[in-house]
């Protein structure tokens, strides 16, 4: 009995010492690997795949910490809703500021999030263009052509997609200029345009699938980056880009989610991730994926791939995102009034 007790005591002591020694050694080793979740909008998959790989190497070299960035993509509005409902995003890289504002309104992101990074927390820009089939068989040259009877226009649902809201507002802004600021004419114009939309996808990538892979429609209203990607990489002999006379300056913003990074202990790496998007390397990657870089030098380097367009901003024409959202896309707003599925 004495022998058994002594043996058990020795085993217990050894295990305890081992646990303590192991713990101490672990304390002296490299920082713990960390995982971030980047919740983004629909067409940024390829962009962030490359950004994530580059950032992991950069961060490892800088801090010794291994980082894995997981991605989630979908319509920008849907993604914001998912985060509000509990999707634990460390960072948001959405299509428009209103969607991040909606998350910030729930108290999980600081209200001044847009002032925490340069250029209103928008490290790259884009715009809205038209993608048509090779040879432009329907002779589409500008926004006006999209309301021709019989034309089939592909654009996603503005209720769920950030890109779709940019599309809608680009068309509205064009109509305002065309008819000297006449809101009624603009409303009629956009109503006619959506009358020509046979399918509403929930996100921009879904609409690209509809137009490119399913072969539906005569024209796709698309992010410039998505249109160039489709034209260059999905079918060089199948599509061509039509640059409208006027379009909107789209500024997709980024922000870290304060509540989540505090909970996960990932604030430093999340901040580093977002700042990396502004670095020369991050800006190069953005340009390679057809987003317009903010850095003037890199923008100049890639100038040839971006057509010159007369761009207006959402602040100039719509008084900012909150006002545009409330007027056009809130339940019962203008879009709900002009788009009624099933009613010709």
């Amino acid at each position: 009995m004495v022998r058994a007790t002594s043996f058990a005591a020795h085993v217990g002591l050894l295990v305890a010492l081992n646990a303590v020694a192991g713990s101490t050694l672990a304390a002296q080793a490299a920082p713990k690997p960390v995982t971030l979740l980047n919740v983004s909008y629909d067409p940024t998959r390829e962009l962030y795949q490359e950004v994530n790989t580059a950032f992991a190497a950069y961060w490892k070299g800088k801090t010794g910490q291994a980082v894995t960035v997981q991605q989630s993509h979908g319509g920008s509005g849907k993604q914001a809703r998912a985060v509000i409902d509990g999707l634990p995003a460390d960072v948001l890289t959405l299509a428009l500021a209103y969607d991040i504002d909606a998350v910030a309104d729930r108290g999980v992101i600081a209200k001044d999030w847009q002032k925490r990074l340069p250029n209103n927390s928008s490290p790259y820009t884009s715009t809205i263009v038209l993608l048509v089939r090779k040879g432009n068989p329907k002779k589409i040259k500008d926004w006006d052509d999209l309301i021709r009877p019989g034309l089939s226009v592909i654009t996603p649902n503005p209720k769920t997609s950030g890109g779709a809201r940019w599309n809608y507002l680009a068309a509205w802004g064009y109509a305002l200029r065309r008819w000297g600021g006449d809101e009624a004419k603009a409303r009629e114009f956009v109503a006619k345009l959506f009358h020509n939309v046979p399918v509403l996808d929930s996100g921009a990538r879904g609409s690209t699938t509809t137009f490119v892979e399913r072969g539906i429609g005569d024209v796709l209203i698309a992010w410039e980056n998505e249109a160039i990607l489709a034209a260059k990489e999905l079918g060089q002999d199948k599509f061509e880009i039509v640059v409208p006379t006027v379009s909107i300056l789209a500024e997709p913003p980024v922000a870290l989610v304060d509540k989540i990074v505090n909970k996960h202990g990932t604030r430093a790496v999340a901040q580093g991730y977002l700042e990396f998007l502004y670095s020369d390397q991050g800006q190069e990657i953005a340009a390679k994926h057809f987003y317009r870089p903010r850095n003037p030098t890199i923008a100049q380097k890639y100038a040839a791939q971006f057509p010159k367009i007369n761009l207006f901003t959402i602040d100039e024409v719509f008084g900012g995102w909150r006002k545009a959202q409330a007027t056009h896309f809130a339940d019962g707003g203008v879009f709900d009034q002009i788009y009624q599925p099933g009613k010709a």
Partner: protein
């Protein structure tokens, strides 16, 4: 049925297009860019092709929508805590659970038959807890243990912010470390002496929350006020207790791994309690074998001792888990102003314990119970855990002889105990404890009460 309906829709579209009639999906596409107002066959075929593609795509999107809608439907799930019903949006949830603890108590070296060997249903509790309207939690815990129906917990929580929750109803007061541990997760079959002093369940309001990135937990509340170790459903006096606790886990995310599991805290209460001859509002103290070893005088024909003034408690406490090793320590002191006739005194009672657990099968120790690496449902043998503790309770000299009878009430109790727990699953366990409790005083002529040698067993099923 779906496929048949789909086929019919397609046929309708095709026949409509060939007939040059109305097109359901492109009602406005009533002209084409041909020179002639009559579409050519090729144009009609192209249009037909588009319509078929549109219908196919719309069907794809409908299926996507159905799949998304399925996510929003209520779900019945099971997890480590049991059965859950959750609404798709997560705003409503109901957890239905419960636990049964079937025990035996055997007292060794009790030839005189002073103590009763018995089987008993220590706890038989049904649990209903959940969330309504996202921000409001509730919990109901009725108990039929021992053949008596008692509502142990019944409270609501308004989750104002992660750092601020308002809790109201009947629940455990925020003082004792082992007291706050669920009865399904405690290391031993019965809790140690500090829990005899910490208030049990009480009625009141409490603000609670996690701050500093969950490194600090706080509770502060106002309650009717329990006697030591007591549970309350009806308050007989106007005096209330303020109770609070601060609990720190300072190294939770530190790179010093062996300190990650260290937590320290302090809880306390202060208030006034005034009893009556019919209801003295004073505690009694029991051994881990649940035999009473201390009571205030209430057996004379003259007057009983009653609570008559300020009562306070303070309890520093700590828990530390290092891999399979868990250590729990707490100290508590209570003071109650007591009177009997014209005599008054502040009677102090002190208790402490040091307890340890070691998972023989290598699991991480946890304040919330051991989770077997190889549960029996996964074809394993469960988890084995060794436990040991030492515990004391001392009543102040001021209690004797005026307020307590040394011939009946021991002044001090000292307990050591060891045990073995086998966990088939996280909260399915069989436990065997052996403990000895010795006393100072408590027997006739001021002699020491006989040492209690208790062999306790438990079969617990909880979910």
């Amino acid at each position: 049925m779906v496929r048949w309906g789909w086929t019919m829709t397609m046929l309708g579209a095709v026949s409509g297009a060939l007939a040059g009639g109305a097109r359901p999906m492109l009602a406005q596409q009533d002209s084409t860019p041909s020179q002639d107002s009559t579409p050519s066959v090729e144009e009609r075929l192209q249009e037909l092709d588009q319509q078929v593609r549109i219908l196919q795509r719309q069907r794809e999107l409908e299926q996507d929508s159905l799949a998304a809608a399925a996510k929003d439907r209520p779900k019945l799930t099971t997890d480590k805590d049991g059965f859950w019903i959750r609404s798709g949006d997560g705003k409503f949830a109901l957890h239905v659970g419960g636990y049964i603890q079937a025990d035996s108590r055997t007292f060794v070296d009790d030839a005189a038959g002073r103590l009763t060997n018995t089987f008993l249903l220590r706890r038989a509790r049904a649990l209903f807890e959940g969330t309504v309207f996202k921000y409001f939690d509730f919990r109901l815990l009725p108990d039929w243990g021992g053949g008596t129906a008692v509502l142990q917990d019944g409270y609501v929580v308004a989750k104002l912010r992660p750092e601020l929750k308002l809790q109201a109803g009947k629940f455990k007061g925020p003082v004792g470390l082992e007291r706050l541990q669920s009865a399904t997760d405690i290391l031993f079959i019965e809790r140690a002496f500090p829990t005899a002093i910490a208030p049990n369940r009480d009625l009141g309001f409490e603000l609670t929350g996690d701050i500093a990135d969950t490194l600090v937990h706080y509770d502060v509340g106002i309650f009717d006020g329990d006697v030591d170790g007591g549970s309350l459903d009806t308050d007989l006096g106007d005096g209330k207790d303020f109770e609070g606790r601060l609990y720190f886990t300072p190294f939770k995310r530190s790179s010093i791994v062996f300190l990650n599991g260290l937590s320290v805290g302090v809880g306390g209460t202060i208030g006034n309690e005034r009893g009556t001859q019919a209801s003295p509002a004073l505690p009694l103290y029991r051994t881990p074998g649940q035999n009473t070893f201390f009571t205030y005088r209430s057996d004379t024909t003259a007057v009983a001792a009653v609570a008559n003034g300020q009562r306070w408690r303070i309890s520093p406490q700590a828990y530390w888990r290092i891999g399979p090793l868990g250590l729990l320590g707490e100290w508590i002191r209570s003071s109650q102003e007591v009177s009997r006739g014209t005599a008054t005194a502040d009677v102090g009672v002190t208790a402490w314990q040091a307890a340890g657990s070691f998972a023989l099968t290598g699991e991480n120790a946890s304040y919330r119970g051991l989770s077997p690496r190889k549960p029996v449902t996964a074809g394993g043998y469960g988890a084995f855990e060794l436990v040991a503790r030492y515990s004391e309770l001392t009543v102040g000299d001021e209690a004797f002889p005026t307020f307590a009878n040394r011939d009946r009430s021991a002044q001090k109790a000292k307990e050591w105990a060891v045990g073995l727990n086998w966990y088939a699953e996280r909260r399915i366990k069989i436990a065997v404890n052996y403990g000895q409790t010795s006393f100072d005083g408590g027997a006739a002529g001021g002699a020491d009460r006989a040492t209690e040698k208790a062999l306790l067993t438990r079969f617990q099923v909880a979910f």
